[in-house]
């Protein structure tokens, strides 16, 4: 079960839930499961960066999740 954390901006969609555990083996699967549970969330996640275990993963859809992975959604980070 991956542990998923929701930023404040998404908590309207999650009913003020700050985090939850979801069974998913890839980020894509996680997105599908999240959309099932919180309709509309996938669109909101489109512009976010995904951090898996503290590591921002660009274009992360196919990225594998470990059973104890932590997933965070962050604003896209730019650099100079």
């Amino acid at each position: 079960m991956a542990r998923v954390f929701f930023p404040t901006a998404l908590q309207q969609l999650t009913g003020d839930l700050e985090e939850c555990e979801i069974e998913a083996s890839t980020v894509r699967e996680l997105f599908v499961r999240l959309e099932d549970r919180f309709p509309g969330i996938r669109e909101q996640l489109a512009s976010a960066a995904v951090a898996i275990d503290g590591d921002v993963v660009p274009g992360a859809l196919l990225e594998r999740l470990e059973p104890d992975s932590e997933v965070h959604f962050l604003p896209a980070i730019s650099g100079g």
């Binding site: 930023p7 404040t8 275990d53 590591d55 932590e70 962050l74 604003p75 980070i77 730019s78 650099g79």
Partner: protein
């Protein structure tokens, strides 16, 4: 200067860089150094108003002038849907990008492009641009964050509705987005706090200040295929953006990277490129465009001015227990300030249980901001690190000790969510504390300040090729422009792997048609991400060469190993084969020796820096002189320590400029008053002492040599370090940047 001991032959050494000779002899070709026979010269007509509706544009007279070959306006660019694409460094809205390249119905800042002209000479183009008649209806302007956020403020974009509010807004405003980070129980946190400090801070827009103005030569053929020569932080992105804005196919455009004369984030987007390409298409000839310095200031992206309110509470023992931050960043004429990284980094150095951070992205009638070295973090650190300094004083705890008591470490959850991986923040604090600078005596009107900073760093999509020439020399090719010595660093990593002299390797920045895709040189990513690809490609080559040696010797692959640049038999059955021997005979063993690796690596190690600043303040004039400065930063591993030090020193000095004298100054009408290096006061050599550096090396486990990005973190602490030093010298807290003599003298006269 730090000498790094690595046990490596090339990694950690300081060879002369490969592109160095061209740069000390004047042979290196930067953006404006390209020319083709018969090329035209293009110029941009820019808006004199900060906010106005374009009623009409009359090109008749201009088009009839001698030598004029093409004129374009916003009507010549396709309409692009309001969609956000993923640039390599976060989202980019192509509709806004297109409207920043050429205004459509409205101009939104002084300097906003309205038309572009190509003519046989620069003069002819300038004269023609002056002859274009534009009829404007002047609109009320919004020139400050405060004005822009007022309920009844004039609105720049009728279709801009704030994202991230608790309930969706029913009318447009200048606030494009609200971002919130919250955790813990604030009430309980304030309850627990023995000392609370709350302050408001402001900073002004500042420019990256690269010395080379933007420049491009574009040649578009009759078949619609085009070539661009330009200096940028990423020629693949220039191609993506330019073709997107023009509605062209990326595959039809080749972008050849020029040497880049500084970027610092400011050359991660496009300004002239689509104009030159389209003018060239219209005129049937190559078109060169080069910005003047004034255009660079007025119409390329500075970073945001900001207003920030920070409140922090600590227990008597120094434990930070609660913090709030309210932050508003100027985005310029279109949404997209670095408020995201601003809210994420503002408290990222510390483990604070109860936090609420609220950030606003605000549009106003100023040039659209662009990335600038650790975008969004330096101003946030100015505010937060000033508050930490005040808390330390109130608590009677040494400021470095207070930071050590609250510093984030591996496994601690960052304020924005994820847990930190291997990081070296504590190590930078300890090195700073133990540095002789920290305990050196000070004289009257002198003071010392410290501050820290955090930056994420970035990986990104990367292709690298390593090829062996028939003489045993090698070529290392990537598609990332080299701004500060990355070619040397990549060659050093390849030399280390291949076991050959670093100067037998030629590192090359290849054009968009010569190598696979590469994200931009930004996010401090090149030594990390391209380094990984180069090391992987070198290892593949070594494996291949060992296999070929096994073939030649007719022994199993396991009996061959790579030692000191040669294939060696573990049994000693055959004389070693050198790189040259393997390469010159490669036809017989399967063809040329070359390996290409593509990666999109995770694990860009986060960077932390702690800096110490001594200043002296002239109580009669308010002049602040930096007497001594030390930068301590975790580089993971310094591949070429000279250029790591250079990044630390350069970042610190940009920060010192931001702290003391740099600012965009606008007149009452919003016109920039200081669009030149005379009155946009970047530090000159005589303003500064030597910048001492301490490279901390807490290796990044996700890079073969432990590299963390070093390009950006260094600019984050200086403003707070200087402000804290000014306080120590004068007893006055400076909460508004820049700390120019006028402001400091005002503060000193405040009693």
């Amino acid at each position: 200067m730090t000498t790094t001991r690595t046990g490596y032959k090339w990694v950690g050494t300081r060879p002369v860089r490969h592109d160095g000779l061209d740069k000390v002899t004047g042979r290196a070709r930067f953006g404006a150094d390209y020319a083709t026979a018969g090329m035209l010269h293009g110029v941009v007509l820019r808006s004199p108003h900060v906010h106005a509706r374009i009623l009409s544009i009359d090109l008749t007279e201009a088009a009839a002038m001698p030598g004029v070959k093409a004129i374009i306006t916003g009507a010549d660019l396709p309409d692009i849907p309001d969609e956000t694409g993923t640039g390599s460094e976060g989202g980019i809205n192509f509709r806004d990008l297109s409207r920043n390249i050429l205004a459509r119905d409205k101009v939104l800042y002084e300097g906003h492009p309205v038309a572009a002209v190509a003519a046989v000479t620069l003069r002819a183009a300038q004269r023609a641009a002056e002859a274009i008649e534009v009829d404007y209806e002047i609109l009320p302007a919004v020139l400050s964050l405060e004005e822009a956020m007022e309920d009844d403020a004039p609105v720049l974009h009728d279709d801009l509705f704030t994202l991230g509010l608790d309930s969706p807004p029913d009318r447009p405003s200048n606030i494009s987005r609200r971002r919130v980070i919250a955790r813990g129980d604030l009430d309980a946190g304030w309850e627990e706090a023995d000392v609370v400090v709350e302050r408001e801070y402001t900073t002004k827009a500042v420019h990256q200040g690269y010395i080379e103005p933007h420049a491009v030569v574009a040649e578009t053929g009759e078949d619609g295929r085009s070539t661009l020569w330009c200096s940028s932080q990423g020629h693949f992105a220039m191609r993506t953006y330019t073709t997107k804005v023009l509605g062209w196919e990326p595959g039809d455009m080749k972008v050849i990277p020029a040497e880049i004369g500084g970027g610092f984030g400011g050359k991660t987007t496009i300004y002239l490129e689509p104009l030159a390409a389209l003018l060239s298409r219209r005129a049937g000839r190559a078109v060169k465009m080069v910005m003047t310095r004034s255009e660079v200031f007025r119409a390329t992206g500075p970073t945001s001015g900001s207003v920030m309110r920070i409140k922090m509470g600590a227990r008597r023992d120094g434990k930070l227990v609660a913090a709030t931050a309210w932050m508003a960043y100027e985005a310029g004429a279109f949404p997209g300030s670095p408020i995201g990284p601003g809210v994420m980094t503002v408290l990222a150095c510390y483990d604070i249980p109860n936090v609420l951070i609220e950030g606003y992205d605000v549009v106003l009638n100023k040039p659209k901001v662009a990335a600038y070295r650790a975008p969004g973090a330096p101003m946030a650190a100015f505010a937060a690190e000033s508050v930490v300094d005040e808390l330390a004083e109130e608590l009677g705890i040494d400021p470095i000790e207070l930071r050590l008591r609250n510093a984030v470490t591996e496994g601690v959850r960052a304020v924005y969510g994820p847990k930190y991986r291997k990081i070296g923040f504590v190590e930078t604090l300890e090195e700073a504390r133990d540095h002789p600078h920290y305990s050196a005596p000070l004289g009257p009107w002198q003071g010392r300040g410290v501050a820290s900073g955090y930056w994420f760093n970035f990986g990104g999509e990367t292709t690298a090729t390593v090829s062996i020439n028939e003489d045993g020399t090698a070529v290392v090719m990537s598609g990332c422009p080299d701004i500060g010595g990355t070619r040397a660093a990549l060659a050093q990593m390849a030399a280390e792997e291949l076991g050959i002299d670093v100067h037998r390797i030629e590192p090359v920045v290849a054009d968009t048609h010569s190598i696979g895709y590469n994200d931009m040189t930004g996010g401090s990513r090149v030594a990390f991400a391209v380094g990984i690809a180069v090391v992987d490609a070198s290892r593949q080559l070594i494996d291949d060469m060992c296999a070929r040696a096994a073939l030649i010797w007719d022994v199993p692959r396991e009996e061959v190993e790579w030692v000191d640049g040669r294939a060696q038999s573990v049994t000693g059955a055959a004389a070693p084969l050198t790189l040259e021997e393997l390469a010159s005979g490669s036809g017989a063993t399967g063809g040329p020796l070359s390996a290409t690796v593509t990666v999109n690596p995770r694990g860009a190690g986060a960077g932390f820096s702690t800096q110490i600043c001594d200043v002296e303040v002239d109580p009669d004039t308010g002049l602040v002189t930096v007497l001594r400065y030390t930068v301590v930063q975790d580089a993971g591993r310094a591949i070429h320590p000279d250029y790591v030090e250079g990044q630390m020193q350069g970042g610190a000095v940009q920060g010192i400029g931001w702290a003391l004298n740099e600012e965009y100054i606008f007149d009452r009408n919003g016109v920039m008053e200081n669009p030149g290096f005379l009155d946009y006061r970047m530090p000159v050599a005589s303003d500064l002492p030597m910048i001492d550096t301490v490279i901390v090396e807490v290796p990044n486990p996700d890079h073969p040599y432990g590299v963390r990005g070093v390009g950006e973190t260094g600019i984050i602490p200086p403003m707070a370090a200087v402000a804290n030093a000014v306080y120590a010298a004068t007893g006055k807290r400076m909460q508004d940047l820049p700390m120019s003599p006028v402001r400091v003298l005002e503060a000193l006269s405040g009693d």
